[in-house]
Symmetry: C2
Subunit: 482 residues, 2 copies
Amino acid sequence: MSQQHTTTPDALIPALKLIVGEANLLLSGVHDDALTPYLEESRQRVNSVCQCIVFPSTTAEVAQIVATCRHHKTPIVPIGGNSGRCLGAHSDDPATVMLSLKKLNRVREIDIANRTITVEAGCILQTIQETAEKHGLFFPLSLGAEGSCQIGGNLATNAGGINVLRYGNTRDLTLGVEAVIPNGTVFNGLSALRKDNTGYDLKNLLIGSEGTLGIITAATFTLSPPERNNEHGFIAVNTIEDAITCLHQTNQVFTGKVSCFEIIPNLAMQWLEKHSDLRCPIGNNHPWYIWYKIASANPDDSLAEDNLACLEALMEDGIVIDATVSQNEAMKTLFWQIRETLVEVQKFEGASVKFDVSVPISSVAKLINTGYTVVNDLCPDIRPYPFGHLGDGNIHFNLSRPETMSDETFVNHYKATLVEALHDLVDGLDGSFSAEHGIGSQKIADMAKYKDPIALDMMRRIKHAFDPLNLMNPGKVIPPLK
Amino acid sequence: MSQQHTTTPDALIPALKLIVGEANLLLSGVHDDALTPYLEESRQRVNSVCQCIVFPSTTAEVAQIVATCRHHKTPIVPIGGNSGRCLGAHSDDPATVMLSLKKLNRVREIDIANRTITVEAGCILQTIQETAEKHGLFFPLSLGAEGSCQIGGNLATNAGGINVLRYGNTRDLTLGVEAVIPNGTVFNGLSALRKDNTGYDLKNLLIGSEGTLGIITAATFTLSPPERNNEHGFIAVNTIEDAITCLHQTNQVFTGKVSCFEIIPNLAMQWLEKHSDLRCPIGNNHPWYIWYKIASANPDDSLAEDNLACLEALMEDGIVIDATVSQNEAMKTLFWQIRETLVEVQKFEGASVKFDVSVPISSVAKLINTGYTVVNDLCPDIRPYPFGHLGDGNIHFNLSRPETMSDETFVNHYKATLVEALHDLVDGLDGSFSAEHGIGSQKIADMAKYKDPIALDMMRRIKHAFDPLNLMNPGKVIPPLK
């Protein structure tokens, strides 16, 4: 910046008010009631502190805020829909300026012939899904928080969700991004191209960087033909190995049409029936359940018939032991509700440790089978609850405390050991300790322990090259040098 | 490096011989006959100079070479199969050490259950395709040079090819990379995971960086079920707009199954019939031809029948004016040969200017229609020859000189103006002047002219953070600061 550093810290807030207007700035100690919902972490483990939250409504305002904070050497923490799982939008520094993207929420353009949509970072995911649908197209990113999460947060964390098997992660759906980089300038990378080899891949560098290299303000996504014709299966198998046979067989029969393929353990079915009104649509005593969806844009595709034939063959081979298919919309809704609700009912069984790990598909059986032994050895009668995205190797290997143990004992005496043991197992299987949730400040210690030191060194070089003052979402993603 | 800089420049060659062995180093002025084929550019426009070429056969050797060259402040240019189109593996500095990856060419692992393959950078693309096929799987990267290009070069340039529409570019097929970075250490990013959100996307930063941030030594790719069941169409349309209608309709009917969708101008068909033994399988006087392929892993999919029905509807609507489908393997081979040979026959019509541009699908018609007018205004009777990957917006908008103009006049008096005019047009349509070939040293001026200055600044920061001495493939990708 060309102007001299003659301003005092007290000049920051007036400067920010000049940018966004008085009504778009909430000040700590003054507007605390209004501030509170933004500072509370959704799982209520820890609340943020800051000196203010600003609500810019244009990219130019975001750029001015970033430049102003840099001038004042003030840290910035961008915040989205507050549904992150790793404290990626958390601030523990009372000097922080938090920057909400919620008012930067326009759909800028939808290009039917190019099958693309350009949206601003504060758009709610569900709004984008609905806008695409209204235009006869489909935005496949889908996850539990879709009604409240903002696309900027999905981009910052490269969110996954249930359709990754077919459509990829957020990164794979993104053709271009616009971002304010730490020096307060705007990177205009809003490409709508499917092929562009002009230099380094800055788009993918910004996606998944959790706001530490800049603030993504808008993105252009590719859209798909709508899944007008879709069929579901809800099946039971005896082993993880059999589940993977089903995955490969389904992928073979329905090339490019398997949208999701989710595994559910028996315990989840028990707890669903105990704690909710939902009922298992097939026998409730099978070891493992799978919910999958196949879909096509072509209404003439014989999905229902082919689905039955595929299942019949798997049952004849003894791979599938029980099964039902979607006979109507109510059945499809039931399958989806089971998958969504199984996440919620776990809390009724007391304290738990949650995981977001992935391994190669060829190692999922080993992960789960060995994982059961490992955690039971450390904590007898522990109740493992592994579920999730079998199709892409991403298992949420959650663990509920033993029935008779107190929450406090479990959390204080077992949690750390269990996390370490399971992450060690994952690491030994060349897996990831954070498949789709990111790092935030919560998994910094895991980054230091498991990530290739050369990779960490490369990340630190990039971070320093972009943000030498370490003002952009400090303390996230990259562990400090020892 | 810990050792002191006591070595003289004369010590470099002996140090390199110690690493790779005497037999794996070719010295300029000593082994010139053996060196020549590596220095000649495949289109013979310009030859490289260097002090030697080394042929390491392990990643450890590559790392030692890079560390040694850094110690001697000597530039390194990595070379692959010499089929690049933008002088990305060119050296004009006689002090350069060129590093061939050809002996680093093992298939390290194939994991059937995970559907992944790990190969070293020197593997020929076709070898990887064949290895996958032998194991009942499919590696979809496919391009003209596949019999000679090395996968390291495909990774360095994020190569495209004919199957991008369905499977994406090289980047989209890559799960992990191993690379030697400029400080001579090895980045071990050989992940076989489909979901991993642990920090910045170093993989995609290295892919497409054309050896300027490090040398990719190996990669893990995702494989697909084989395209056992496939059908082709060869059709004629009157306009680009109609061609795009066909694209959308085909994508709708065959969700996720359209592997390629290529456009061919009438002129190409004329020149094919004039300069080769190939004959157009339908009437040869139509304005535009399209070759497309639909494929499935499921032998029971009724592709042939559905293809006919789809075409029938398009003909009834007057969109498709002539058509044939693949009735046997010979027909499929013919379609493929037409697409491959049309690139070669252009040379029989004299000098040409070649392009590798892309625009949003919604702007392809404008690109081609306006493009014809623009180039004809600049050079009356010029013969435009636009063909290529309509499905992803990447058109090779080649231009042959007017019939009666000399090659020399065309190249000396028109080429630069034509390139600028067409790249300006592409830029105005938010397109890319290099869709799949990369930048190398050939398109450096275009980078300076068309690329967002903020993006260039970000690239320079990254380059400097990784390679402060600018020794890794210098002069490529990033234009010098004015």
